[in-house]
């Protein structure tokens, strides 16, 4: 082998070569470390950028501008039938009453100015009055000061997004409106405070009164359905596969497919839901029950995989102990294996649910993207969910929706962080068990 002039190195030569290679290796190490740091730095700065941009846009979305007016609550005009029923109040003349109290402050002259004045207050003002009267009919016949949300264009103007300097023809609000707003400001009637609508309102075409409550409730209902279906099913599957299933080709194929299922794009589950639940079983669209079922399909593989891992992590010695004392298989599983595996299974489930909470595509497929003003009262009422609401708002042109989109994202993020924190805490607990 060592025919051509190769010979063993002396110790001296060898150590020299080693020394020089050590320097090269050190340099390589250092370079790799630097690359790693750069990568982490980039990732962190993206994250910071994301958070700063979402929070800087989203926090103002939790606040909005209001105008305070002294309103004379004329009994006959507000409640024409006189029975204080919602229908009677709906037929009442709340809108004109609000406008009249506004006119008293800003004195619009002529039709044109009145038309401009109408643009100042949110179209929701009459609903606000009706609600107040329904809550407390004693205020009828009195003059009280009420704060109303201003229209979204006025809000944008007050925030400085619509600029005074822009030529009137290119602005969404004309000079007359600006004059009136200035007058209201001068009288200290404009205020900036925490929004009444963002957390408690539901979907609306008027951005100033749009809120996430409907979507939030929709999300909760959907997640509840998802959990109720996916958790027991997932755990049962995991227990069967780990403890009962014979180890043969069929179970092997099932296992491989469950793992594959976890990698299927979520939109496919939406199509599946559309085809099976709506197409075959004729379920109504847009309802949280359906959304939950589709998301359950999606989270099931995650739950099964993590539950199996959790069951496998239960020390065999504990099972031996139970069997050794005469516990049946079922007792061993229910008394020992499941309690010990529970934190792990819940961790996986929470992570699966967090995924489901942020999921949009499959819900679009089953029509949870519909514009639904009513807050869903149950799993069979049409509704939407937070990420879909975000998706819809992001598509609207109004400036104010941009802020509200970010606000909704903040709410969603807070929830996700909360869920993930719960998962981490559970995992810590799991580690402490033995």
């Amino acid at each position: 082998m060592n025919k051509n002039n190769s010979k063993m190195l002396t110790a001296d030569e060898a150590s020299k070569i080693v020394a020089s290679s050590v320097i090269r290796r050190r340099k390589k190490d250092a370079r790799l470390k630097t690359y790693g740091r750069i990568a982490i730095g980039l990732a962190v700065s993206f994250l910071i950028f994301l958070f700063v941009s979402i929070f800087s846009k989203g926090i103002p979305g939790f606040f909005q501008y209001y105008v305070t007016l002294d309103v004379y609550l004329d009994r006959d005009r507000l409640d024409p039938k006189g029975d204080l029923s919602p229908e009677s109040l709906y037929n009442g003349d709340a809108r004109s009453i609000v406008l009249e109290s506004l006119y008293k402050v800003i004195n619009p002259k002529g039709r044109k100015e009145k038309k401009a004045a109408k643009k100042i207050i949110s179209s929701n003002a009459d609903v606000r009055i009706s609600k107040m009267v329904l809550d407390n009919s004693k205020i009828l016949g009195k003059t009280i000061s009420i704060t109303f949300a201003v229209d979204d264009d006025i809000d944008s103007f007050l925030r400085g997004y619509i600029k005074r300097e822009t030529p009137s023809s290119e602005r969404r609000i004309n000079d007359t409106v600006i004059k009136f707003v200035d007058k209201l400001s001068a009288e200290n009637r404009i205020s900036y405070k925490f929004s009444d609508y963002i957390l408690t309102g539901s979907a609306s075409r008027s951005p100033e009164i749009a809120g996430i409550k409907g979507a939030f409730i929709g999300s909760m209902l959907t997640l509840a359905v998802c959990f109720i279906i996916a958790f027991p099913l997932g755990v049962a599957t995991a227990v069967y596969l780990e403890e009962f299933a014979p180890k043969n080709r069929i179970t092997e194929i099932i296992e491989v497919n469950i793992n594959n299922l976890a990698a299927v794009p979520s939109v496919v589950f939406g199509i599946l839901g559309l085809a099976i639940f709506i197409g075959v079983f004729g379920m109504p669209r847009s309802i949280p029950l359906l959304g939950g079922m589709v998301l359950a399909l999606m989270t099931l593989p995650t739950i099964i995989i993590s539950s199996r891992a959790a069951i496998r992590a239960v020390p065999p010695s504990i099972k031996d102990a139970a069997y050794g004392i005469g516990a049946s298989k079922l007792q061993t599983i229910f008394h020992h294996v499941l309690p010990l595996a529970m934190p792990g299974m819940l961790t996986g489930t929470i992570i699966g649910m967090a995924q489901a909470l942020g999921e949009t595509a499959p819900l679009l497929m089953i029509g949870m993207v519909a514009f639904i003003v009513d807050i869903p009262g149950g799993v069979t009422d049409p509704g939407t969910v937070l990420p879909v609401q975000i998706f819809m708002w992001a598509d609207f042109a109004e400036r104010m929706f941009i802020q509200k989109t970010s606000s909704a994202i903040i709410v969603l993020l807070v929830f996700l962080i909360f869920m993930n924190a719960a998962a981490v805490i559970l995992r810590k607990k799991l580690e402490r068990r033995w």
């Binding site: 020390p315 010695s317 504990i318 050794g324 004392i325 005469g326 516990a327 049946s328 068990r433």
Partner: protein
Amino acid sequence: MVSNSNINNVKTKTIGEIFSKDPKIICRNVDVFYGEKQAIKDVSIDIASREIISFIGPSGCGKSTFLRCLNRMNDTIDTCKVKGSISLDKEDIYDEKIDVVTLRAKIGMVFQKPNPFPKSIYENVAYGPKIHGLSSSKEELDFIVENSLKDSGLWEEVKDRLQSPGTGLSGGQQQRLCIARAIAVSPEIILMDEPCSALDPIATAKIEELINQLGKNYSIVIVTHSMQQAARISQRTAYFHLGELIEVGETKKIFTMPKDKQTEAYISGRIG
């Protein structure tokens, strides 16, 4: 059922006295397979009432495997197949009519690594009586727990903290807790698989003393890798080698004048 006519009329290569006058467990021609691999080859032996018998032999020779046949713990291993006959009080324990749950209530087991449940000390001991319905009231259960802990010599050490986790005890205490758990269901036989191998000498001494005590009321089969331990605690010793039962006999005789060459080689330290 194993008829009386043929049990003492068995072909065996084992040297020494495999029979006993008052047999509790009778094993005849037992073969155990893990899949294709045979781990126990044609083992026949009796285990008498209230005797302490130790199984010794080099590791991997099948001591644990054979021990686990006696309470059918091998059922939990899918690939494991047991052939031959094993009977408890003349009743075949591998018969279809036999319920493993009742069998394991009669034959308790203590494992190599102390394995208390991650529950309270009380719960650990009370678990067996609870699932077998041995007590009808809280007082009865308390009584069983207290007695079992006393019998395992742990009572004085834990009586003030019965509700603290069993996993918080020291290794030796945990093993005695496991023994208490086993005797709480009033078994007739206790199987122990190297119960001291994870313990320090002092804890080991305590367990050995305990085993000596328990030997008055129970049949005890103990697997051990320590020949001194076997010599100290057991009346009979069985030497296994490569799945075969080579020699059985009175412990004193086995250690002083083994008849088989392999046994002699092992006890004199030439086979490890």
